[in-house]
Amino acid sequence: MTATPIYNFAYLDEQTKRMIRRAILKAIAIPGYQVPFASREMPMPYGWGTGGVQVTASVLGPDDVLKVIDQGADDTTNAVSIRKFFEKTAGVATTTRTREATVIQTRHRIPEEPLGESQILVYQVPIPEPLRFLEPRETETRQMHALEDYGLMHVKLYEDIARHGHIATTYAYPIKVEGRYVMDPSPIPKFDNPKMDMSPALQLFGAGREQRIYALPPYTQVISLDFEDHPFERTKFDKPCGLCGATGVYLDEVVTDDRGGRLFVCSDTDYCEERRGGQA
């Protein structure tokens, strides 16, 4: 019978990495198209970022510097856990500084600091199919993508407008990639959508449970779906960050007491700390 379990270096075996790498290359060649891949069970649960972790594990090399964020922050428990996983299994250098990172794995945010050509942003994706909540069947949505039939999505957005006066989607806001595929940007706030357009960095998306990988190559046109009379609007905050005073950034609302006290602070903790002179 089996003795003590022994795990492979960097957890994934070489055959799995090759399979994921091939999927990544196809994803880059067909921007916005969801490439099926044989996602593996990972030592963290589905929904915790297994897709992102598999993509990162397949991309990482010994010279990379990894940053992991969740909700924009390096110190949220899941970000800490994933960072430790890679420190332990791949022995890779890690950082919390956006600027120093060559690979950034993220859940729900894009860093405030503009990314450069030498950086790769890896997104954790729960539901990769932008049409899924309009049509639950994979057989149907695959057909819609094949035929470039996105009428359903436009109807949904237009119903929002009829009902609320504007599009009522605030995160995972659908985008159109290079005029072809409609894509789910993962549950980032729509505030971050414009950062995807013509980004110098390569953006990779991994959905483990749903077994899909997709990509935005650098300098790829990304348009948030809208209507001429109802153009896409980025979320605006009417206050600056309560800690560093930054404006034009995404803010978290922190409840400070039970009498309605609220503090709005940068969701991107690295950005906020840098502005405050590195004193955390």
């Binding site: 589905y46 929904g47 949220t76």
Partner: protein
């Protein structure tokens, strides 16, 4: 003054320590061993092997201990280990007809070649809590029924097949590629081989509920338990470099063949049809549920209309895996405050607009409705 939450790493470590402490329970009591779990909680071990798709009673027992008895967590541990193992190839098809039978019953024939073998079953126990088991004691020695093991036990469905009263299984094509849901993304339409594999790995509770729903009319299949057999089957493998079969050992399997009514169609005569269940270890509930759901998923194959959840392959297969399901359900525990903030801002805006709207003169409504 608000200070950004730090120290996630220390908090995680402390939580893990606490978990280990809770796992041990009262230190005044002896610690349970994996071997005890393997021997005395063997049906839990069987479930973990089956849904973990890893036939290794020792590792399954270890996983149950580590998971504090949470079987889905234990299945997850087994799966996460299994996925790192190198793949040498695919075993030869298991011959369940040659099973060393420990239990074998048919609900369709009173007696049949090989006989009915009751085996270790809860079926006719009275469910009365047994105070004697609360204390350690000796278990009775079983009587051996050697006859049943030596006599050939053909499949009940094979007996029906002689008369042409049940559909024939498609002959096995050794050259056909083996579908493997652990090596390729689930794609639809899914062939029966892929469906059966996904069901064998699927959550027992989910399949039980779906199978039950077919009995209550949501995709009724008029099933009879043609046969349920449990015992050891030899598994063999043909290494590429040798070119001949090498036995790898025995695994315990439970197999269920349901016999289902079928009225016939323009192309097919009226005949019985099959629903099939096969699982690692001893689990009749799972094998029977699987067989019911397998038959339900063959609805379209018989030209019948898909009307019930159990007949919908995309619905069933996409949601049968409990490791996927528990991950996604439980991931709601992870922070979502960025998206929640976005929703909060929208809700505040909608509320402000709604209140402004109510305060405004009616003419504005007409305009807004355009």
């Amino acid at each position: 003054m608000y200070v950004a939450v730090k120290g996630g790493e220390a908090a995680i470590e402390a939580a893990h320590n606490l978990l280990a402490h809770e796992r041990r329970g009262d230190p005044a009591l002896p610690e349970i061993t994996a071997a005890q779990i393997r021997e005395q909680l063997s049906l839990a071990v069987n479930r973990v092997m089956c849904e973990g798709s890893l036939y290794d009673p020792d590792l399954a027992a270890l996983a149950i201990k580590q998971a504090r008895g949470d079987l889905i967590e234990a299945i997850f541990l087994a799966r996460a280990y299994r996925t790192t193992l190198p793949r040498f190839g695919y075993a030869e098809p298991a011959d369940t007809g040659a099973m060393h039978i420990r239990r074998r019953i048919s609900a369709t024939y009173k007696d049949l070649p090989g006989g009915q073998v009751l085996g270790p079953t809860f079926d006719y126990t009275h469910r009365l809590l047994d105070p004697a088991l609360a204390e350690a004691g000796s278990a009775p020695t079983p009587e051996r029924a050697a006859a049943a093991e030596s006599e050939a036990s053909p499949h009940v469905t094979a007996l029906l097949n002689h008369e042409g009263l049940i559909e024939s299984n498609r002959p096995h094509d050794p050259a056909a590629p083996v579908c493997d849901v652990t090596r390729g993304a689930l794609a639809f339409p899914a062939g029966r081989d892929l469906r059966l594999q996904a069901l064998a790995r699927g959550d027992e509770g989910f399949l039980l509920a779906l199978g039950y729903s077919t009995q209550r009319g949501y995709g009724r299949t008029h099933p009879f338990a043609g046969e349920i057999r449990m015992g050891e089957v030899e598994i063999s493998f043909v290494p590429e470099e040798l070119g001949f079969e090498v036995p790898l050992g025995e695994v315990r399997l439970t197999e269920c063949e349901m016999v289902n009514q079928f009225a016939g169609s323009a192309d097919a005569p009226p005949q019985f049809t099959r629903g099939y269940g096969l699982v690692f270890g001893h689990s009749e509930r799972k094998a029977m549920s699987m067989a019911l759901v397998d038959r339900a998923l063959r609805t379209a194959e018989f030209g019948e209309e898909v009307v019930a959840p159990a007949q919908d392959a995309e619905f069933v297969l996409s949601h049968a895996d409990n490791v996927q399901a528990t991950g996604f359900v439980e991931h709601l525990k992870l922070p979502h405050y960025v998206d929640f903030q976005a929703e909060l801002a929208l809700l505040r805006q909608l509320r402000a607009e709604w209140e402004a709207d109510r305060a405004a003169p009616p003419a504005r409504h007409a305009e807004a409705a355009e």
